[in-house]
Symmetry: C3
Subunit: 630 residues, 3 copies
């Protein structure tokens, strides 16, 4: 595989006479892909049915003439103003009951059946016109599903569809009452028509009501996307792609991905550090111009799984962005580091957003590879350097990882629904176990529940997985030499009841669970348990580790281990080191923000830190990438 | 009096074949009471008028057969789904104007006249069927009035009733205009129909408008409850009880209590520490698994007053709960400590919530005495130990307290309406004076304004009492050898105007008042005044204490003292020690979280702290209870 | 000029028999002005068309008889309850879509055409009756425009007017689409009727849409005020005044001021410190009873500019207020200090709010010059002292300032719309440069963009000015010997696009901009850049200062300087000291909270600090004022 570079371009934003200059510059800078079209609906169909293809024809021709391959986006994330006239109720409604209106983007409710028809129409028209064009080598559906909290809508459309969805799921209202436990507070229903959305209740709604609404909302994204892929498949064999975001868990990316050929994501390391980090001032100050040292890698590995091996970075941050609370500039070298890191994780394409900074509208302070007046910005210089790096690397093949961690969207919804502790967040739980593996120098696979067993690992981590029935347990056990479950894994049934058999597959039992403010954690040697602890009776399971106060912390049953709480960094590393030794996987002890990642042929070293770091005979400056041939 | 134990049980949640097993276990564990039925409306009347009594008949029979006494709850906190069809507008509306809907609990507006009729019907039906049953020895009305911020509703029903209430109160609109001071900003009304609820104004509404709405809202709870007690009284002579919550001040618990025989409350020491404490991380960390050392005692004493001597703990936390931001497990021994503390304060019954942890619905992570799979949890072991302790204690009689503190709900509403400083909270003010007395080793009575004079005390504290007219002042003075008023006591008239005569009964005057960020407090020797300070001209009053800068801090006029500010812990203890010495009440200086409480025959010592504490020759481990015979 | 004192009085709040006593006391205390009437609409017109003038006639007569001059307020900030019956939709709607109702004040939408008619009627009636009265020597329009966040309304009335406003501004929808950059996310409009208000969008609306709505909202205040001044001018030659507030930037005070004769503001130093300060606990603790040492001066200078030299303090805090989070009492002497400081800045009148503390309604804890029971409060004693001070001073003439700073409301809206960093606030940016000049001992002018060139300065600061076209740049350059622009000055065009020519007038360019969390600032010697930094290519501009890392911090082009970031206190003083030295303006280095201000004849020294301060041979206690004759 030979990685490629690309960029995102909006011909409709620039004078037509500039198009060929831009296309030429892209090609000369080493970019081979360009994504276009995903926000252009109002130019493609200014009034209903009045399609204006000519400008896009010319834009495509110009880009193609420069030798660029094109990703064409469906424009459904930004319906034009006339759509509101056709469907005044097309908007999503927020949890407080306020409808969100026209004037920005993503202003639609996934459940609105009329808008779905309109989407099908524009996608079909686009496909009819452009599917055969040889330069159109990939299609992107919509844009960033879930961005701006747009998955869950409390609209009338959503309610109607939710009732249909529930009826299909439960068949009878009695089954639903049982699953939801509505006897609890006299919440029993006598028909599906009585069910409301779970917002605006006096206190929390029935948790399975909430969870089902989250499942339904995710399914709506899946079917909305499938509506488009079904149409596109009829016209093209080109790759179908969606560009996911970072740390959005409100819909099942694997399920959407099942209808796509390639997963991609929009990688904004600095924006995400400011906007979506769990860590405080000290951490943010240290990584302010580099980004979290594991956040990108985690998503690279996640989307490699979502794309079943095929994945891109569709939008790579090329400089400061505009949308986070603070928007600093990357350290010189970081744009190249991020690009090479994606490549080390197996990205087919790294595409920068955007080609040129736009001097008007919402994102005018979002950097591009070019400045607003068309000069090369730092991003372009680093993209060019990256192109040269790729050239020097030659063909890359991914390495086969020996450790994996399971990620499951339903579990994220489960613990959003009943976190039990203010600091319990599923993404964070998984991410911190992932980080611990990374600090030990490992290259990691992320797998979905459905992917269990596709590959055998030395060690598999399964933190916080909501449900584990017997079949799933069997598949987990078969997936690796050693499995580490917990905390909270397998603690609920499919209907979100407490599973009376937890921890699954151990002859042990959970006496009670605690959620913990940070000052209330438990010491375990030099480490600590925080956020969460399960008091377990070990019964017939053996106890591999106890807290200083003598409570079981790590249970063992054959090659399965169960972690009874949420370990801090130190404790996580201690436990994982021991398990990795057990399965014969060598570990490193990487200093600070140093990370490494292997391909089949190369080992990449990345210094994410704000100071020089040494490891063995290597010494890396901040933002430095060091590539070893294996 | 011989204290008893009990628990809360939901036969409708469990298979009928389990009922007798549970009943047997309860009885064998030393429990003699069981509360049932308060959330079972949808099972008692699945569709309008279709009453299903048989299951409840059998459940009652099963429990009675095991020798258990039963508290039967009216199910009005959880109207079934069909009620919404009958009364679509039955829901409370929040301050932002959003109606809260079906799907959890407490989903009704106290002012909805239709729902009141429906409540009367179900209560009457229940009374008709069960009042004569010998095992039904008490009734509980509704459940936790005010929980989830449900007292104040901004609905159309509330508006209609508020206008009626105002008309009754003021007779003429001119009287209202005068009371509210509507001339201030041209807010004058020409008829009661012009009056709106005080939400959604541009800036604050007229304070007496706000205060009257709070008074009205409290009265609505009182009359809602009375509707039920009036019906029940016609059928039964059993004790009528309501289960109040902790630190809810939005309705007058004394006024509701006047229609009841017994007050009870739901004591969740760890939930309340996390959810309702004024204190920060250090305090929370120290008491995280024990609860605030004075919070339970305060409510025990409060509800003893509300119940005119007769009170219960209806729901005692038996392990981790599910509803606070963090939900840690109690230290081993704390469930017993909490139970014995209630008993030391005179509880007739301590009833645990709930018998068995329920593996589904909203509270599935709320511990029970049994685990979800039916094994004994730590709570049961401690309940059994408590039963043995009670057995060993023999008959207990309450001691007669020599110090008292006045608590007044109207004052809480007053200072919610015009706190004048962000940190001024009436509950906290009273609670901190109460805590100071407790740290001095005293057993304390809480009294309502109406109870003044029922008993004579050596010392009576009256902090922050909104209104003191001449008659009330006389009753205050007569109630104790020495009275300590202030800060802010008697500062407003009944119509919430500044009282020009404050401080009441002193030949002194208030020049101006200050609310203070903590860094702006005034030093008074080793102590400090915080939150609040009144600059007083002592005039003919004598000054017992001044600030370091020379301002009067404590005024004296005969046996009355007036405290001009909010003392911190040190200053409060200093002042109270001096006053107690004056009236010949000996004090102790208890270390840390050690507390003691006397009955007529025993002195109970409780170590709430997270470390061993010594006092004299006593040395108590954390969670230890030490009982001395007097 | 001989400064005068006054107070605010509400005859409608007090018994008529008290009026003459009050009037007599005012006059004897050295007050010569009294403001009345601005909240009295319900007494002037209790029912529609039923005008009740007699009581006001008598009140005016009583005050006039005591020799007092009267400011008569139009009562339009508090329409009576009957207005709601006439215009049920007259209320402003907040950003969340909630209409704000009757029951406090400022309950109207500026865009409601019906309410405007009603305002015109009452103003005309008042003018007809009182314009000729010799004691009525000034008129106040409405009261505190913008207080309680009342400028921007998202009502249907506002939408209708906004569309009209846009049509007038852009003429064609194509022009609007171009200006707003609606092509960006398919936000294009085909007619003005399609445009909505910019609230309730999914993510941010087009920034020029937002900015235009802010411009429109400001214009609505201007035309609302002009409606009144146009009427009053037809009847009177007396001064027309409005009382502005502190740190309200939501409408253009200069534009409103253009229709007035005198600007005035309501100076609440302690309320503003608690309510509107950017600084944390340490700063607030230090100045808690004095107020920010530069906040009052800034507004004095601002309103001197708004009033084109003529300005008052209409409401001077005389003691604790009631509306801030905390409401401490001023240090003894501060009321006098504040009064004399206003006079040193050129105030014609300092008028205290309010004459007597009112014991009822919303502001009953707002101090007056008299206590609620009519005794002299500390405020009165200090007002009397101030009157004596004024007597001793004789005639005062303002000094001519040699340094100025530009303040522009549109820029405030611009950076509210796209702050790009959470801590970027225009007012704060300007205020901190102002403070740096003050700490260097200077007397400063504030100028509006329109006032550029009316006076020539040695040094002019132009921080954060949104737009600078060639003509404006020329006027800036001509306005002073040396000009310091930046950061962010001239960075946007009039349509709020990035200006490709920035920094304006330098042969340099901006490569990219960063917004910075405080820990991510750049060291510049002993100082730092915080909040904001622009990476500039100096090109042909010379670089006067670089950061420790070598980036340009201060560019120079002839007598123009450009500051590339937001300097902290230390760096601001260092740069300004150097520039002032360059233009030959001597500076002082004032310790702590010491400040000074020159008139043509006197130098006033003010100690705002909480400790004694020395400068040269001067030693001032806290709250002390020292006056030197020049």
């Amino acid at each position: 595989m030979r990685p490629e570079l690309g960029c995102c371009y909006y011909p409709e934003h620039w004078p037509e006479e500039r198009w060929s200059v831009d296309a030429q510059m892209m090609a000369e800078s080493g970019l081979s892909w360009v994504r276009i079209g995903e926000f252009a609906w109002s130019r493609l169909e200014p009034t209903p049915g009045d399609y204006q293809w000519e400008w896009l024809d010319r834009a495509i021709a110009t880009l193609a003439d420069a030798g660029l391959k094109i990703v064409l986006g469906t424009p459904t994330a930004t319906p034009p103003r006339w759509m509101q006239k056709r469907y005044p109720d097309m908007f999503a409604v927020d949890r407080d009951g306020k409808a969100r209106g026209f004037g920005s983007r993503r202003h639609y409710c996934f459940s609105h059946q009329g808008y779905r028809i309109a989407c099908a129409e524009i996608v079909e028209k686009l496909a009819q016109r452009y599917a055969a064009h040889p330069a159109i080598q990939a299609w992107q559906t919509d844009n960033e599903y879930g961005c701006h909290d747009t998955v869950r809508s409390y609209s009338q459309s959503a309610l109607t569809q939710f009732r249909i969805w529930l009826k299909a799921r439960y068949q009878s209202i009695d089954q639903l009452n049982k699953a939801w436990g509505t006897v609890f507070w006299s919440m029993e229903y006598s028909s599906f028509d009585e069910i409301e959305l779970p917002n605006l209740t006096v206190t929390e709604a029935a948790p399975c009501h909430e969870l089902d609404f989250k499942r339904f909302s995710s399914d709506e994204v899946v079917s909305f996307n499938r509506l488009q892929t079904d149409i596109l498949r009829r016209y093209t064999a080109a790759s179908l792609i969606h560009n996911y975001m970072g740390r959005i868990v409100e819909f099942d990316h694997f399920a959407v991905g099942a209808d796509l050929d390639v997963a991609s994501w929009d990688a904004y390391p600095l924006g995400f550090l400011e906007d979506r980090s769990d860590y405080g001032e000290e951490w943010r100050a240290r990584f302010v111009r580099q980004g979290d040292p594991d956040f990108q890698a985690f998503h690279h590995d996640l989307y490699r799984a979502v794309g079943r091996g095929r994945w891109w970075v569709m939008e790579q941050q090329p400089g400061p962005v505009n949308w986070a609370p603070f928007n600093p500039a990357p350290l010189d070298g970081m744009v190249r580091l991020w690009s090479l890191e994606a490549i080390a994780h197996g990205a087919e394409v790294v595409s920068y957003f955007r080609w040129r900074q736009l001097p008007f509208a919402q994102e005018q302070h979002h950097a591009g590879l070019l400045t607003p007046d068309g000069r090369a910005a730092q991003g372009l210089r680093e993209a060019q350097q990256t192109a040269a790096d790729i050239e020097a690397l030659g063909t890359l093949e991914p390495a086969v990882a020996v450790v994996a961690i399971l990620f499951d969207y339903e579990s994220a919804w489960a613990w959003q629904t009943q976190p039990q502790g203010a600091s319990f967040d599923y993404f964070r739980l998984v991410f911190e176990q992932y980080r611990a593996l990374r600090r030990l120098g490992l290259s990691i696979d992320i797998v979905s529940p459905a992917q269990l067993g596709e590959q055998h690992y030395k060690l598999l981590l399964v933190p916080g997985l909501m449900s584990i029935d017997d079949a799933r347990l069997e598949r987990i056990e078969a997936a690796a030499d050693v499995v580490l479950l917990g905390p909270r894994s397998g603690s609920r049934t499919e209907h979100f009841h407490i599973d009376l058999n937890q921890p699954q597959g151990f002859s042990a039992s959970v006496e009670c669970v605690e959620s913990l403010r940070s000052s209330a954690g438990y010491a375990v040697g030099d480490g600590r348990l925080e956020h969460w602890f399960e008091h377990c009776n070990a019964d017939e399971a053996s106890v591999s580790l106890t807290s200083d106060s003598g409570a079981p912390v790590l249970l063992r049953s054959g090659s399965k281990y169960y972690l009874c709480g949420w370990p801090n960094e130190q404790l996580a590393e201690q436990i994982l080191t021991a398990l990795l030794e057990l399965v014969g996987v060598p570990t490193k002890s990487l200093p600070g923000g140093l990370r490494c990642r292997d391909t089949a042929t190369h080992r990449f070293w990345f210094n994410y830190d704000n100071r020089n770091l040494e490891y063995g005979d290597k010494r890396l400056n901040p933002a430095e990438v060091y590539i070893e041939t294996l």
